[in-house]
Amino acid sequence: MKSYTIDSLLSARISADYPDRPGVLRDVELEIAPGEIVGLVGESGSGKSTLATALLRLLESRGGKTRGELRFQGRNLLELSNREMRRVRGREIGLVLQSPLSALNPAMRIGHQILESWRAHREGSPDLLQLLEMVNLPPEAAFLERYPRQLSVGQAQRVLIAMAIVHRPALLIADESTSALDVVTQAEILNLFSSLNRQMGMAVLYISHDLLSVGSFCHKISILQHGRMVESNSSEEIFRNPQHPYTQALLAAIPRLPTFPRTTNCHRVAVPA
């Protein structure tokens, strides 16, 4: 393992297994500096979501096992007790999942759910309206009274982000947070991540299958294939100078603007008058 500086926010080298699927993650190395936005790209089944849950040690609740080393702010998270780990979750590392409408409890009002995120670690209540404003949601008390089914997908995603940043965590893990959104809403959410990163100095680990969206706002990109990290570099280097054949294949698969086909080989059919 490379010797990381003390400044590193998160440095990990982990392997993970499920009982029926060994080797979901194999010696995956990840390093995130404070305030850095790191993108993690891989296809379905590459182990991206497993990595997100493994970093928060939530894999055990799904029957999996995490091995290796996981240093966050100088502490090895794999050695913490359950109670200590619970204090890390939500307060120092936040998680935003995809499909926001199922990641919210359908029977609880969203104001209540955000409050619950706060109360998990602190007393009292936060400034909810200011929080709503930070994530570009209407800062009204009436909005807090709504149920998840009364929100649009984009709004629900923002609520999830609000719940995750309520304690100003040092790291935010966004697991396919924009995969369920249309292109325009996706761009808005990515802008939101960028602005939160600038305002709060919060590091972001952005996990996605879409290399293009990742490249647009991440400082550093890591590529995951079949549970292994195959390449990790700055965004510019990845796009200009991809080293690994898989990275090159990903880049080649990015759709470009369509080139309109020329009709030289097609015989014009005479249309009867």
Binding site: R62, R87, G90, L95, L97, A103, N105, S117, A120, A164
Partner: protein
């Protein structure tokens, strides 16, 4: 307001229909089975001709199902359940005397069974080790007939309520475990965990509210199972309850008593069903 009334009315109507059907079905089955008309007491040489004629007449009165049934229903509305032929005492009094014993057996057994099944199901979902242990216990309790469980508990001189709990436990456990396992794999539970919430808080605020209706759906079914198990339990333990009464009635082929008991049990289980349906909606 009207919708609430019509819904309750509909549930009560189906309740009444079930009970009536139960009684009618039993009477019909009894009527069409062989040996309905005969009674070995008629062969008893110790009885004189007058007594034998009386027995013959008693059975003759029971022969017409409709007449018997109508007579029976009319009597019931007046609080008279008829007289038990074999035990020579009013059925209503018999039931009233024996109901508390069965109620206590059922109550404790049902409560213990539910608590045991739910606790183990939760443990099974939280920990794979407990999942295996509880699974084995459940499989073990399931493969032994309720009569055998009663015998085994009796031999070690344990309380008979345990038998009811053990009979209910495997079926309830399987259902609860599936239910809880589904509930815990929902994405919003992962979010709750990622927030760092306490497991107890997650259980009370996120899992139970979602599961509660489906949990309650088993109320009537478990009551029905418990009553079924009561018969061998009370017979073996010599507990003077409804189950033992049913067994005695079956042995002495006492038609009025059996019909009444069947209707009573059906009524009780249907009340449970209706109550849980009403609470769920």
């Amino acid at each position: 307001m009207p919708r609430w009334i019509t819904r309750t009315a509909r549930q009560l109507a189906s309740l009444a229909a079930t009970v009536l059907l139960g009684g009618l079905l039993t009477a019909t089955l009894v009527r069409t089975s062989p040996g309905f008309d005969s009674d070995e007491r008629q062969l008893d040489p110790r009885l004189d001709a007058a007594s034998r004629a009386l027995i013959q007449e008693e059975h003759g009165a029971n022969r017409d199902v409709v007449r018997f049934y109508v007579r029976h229903m009319r009597a019931m509305f007046h609080g008279d359940f008829g007289v038990s032929l074999s035990l020579q005492s009013p059925i209503g009094a018999l039931i009233r005397a024996r109901l508390p014993v069965t109620a206590e057996l059922m109550g404790v057994g049902l409560a213990a069974g539910w608590i045991l099944a739910f606790t183990l199901a939760l443990a099974a979902v939280w920990s794979p080790a407990w999942s295996k242990i509880a699974g084995l216990l459940s499989a073990g309790a399931r493969s032994v007939p309720s009569a055998a469980l009663a015998v085994l508990v009796f031999v070690v001189r344990g309380p008979m309520h345990v038998v009811i709990a053990l009979v209910l436990f495997p079926r309830l456990f399987d259902y609860f475990r599936n239910l809880l396992s589904d509930a815990y794999s929902q994405p919003h539970i992962l979010t709750a965990r990622a927030k760092g919430l306490h497991p107890g808080g997650i259980l009370c605020r996120h899992v139970l509210p979602v599961c509660a209706p489906q949990l309650l759906a088993l109320a009537g079914v478990s009551a029905s199972m418990a009553f079924g198990a009561a018969i061998p339990v009370e017979t073996l333990g010599d507990l003077p309850g409804i189950g033992q009464l049913a067994w005695k009635a079956a042995l002495s082929r006492d038609l009025p008593l059996l019909v009444t008991l069947t209707m009573l049990i059906t009524l009780l289980t249907q009340v449970c069903n209706t109550a849980s349906d009403w609470w769920r909606s």
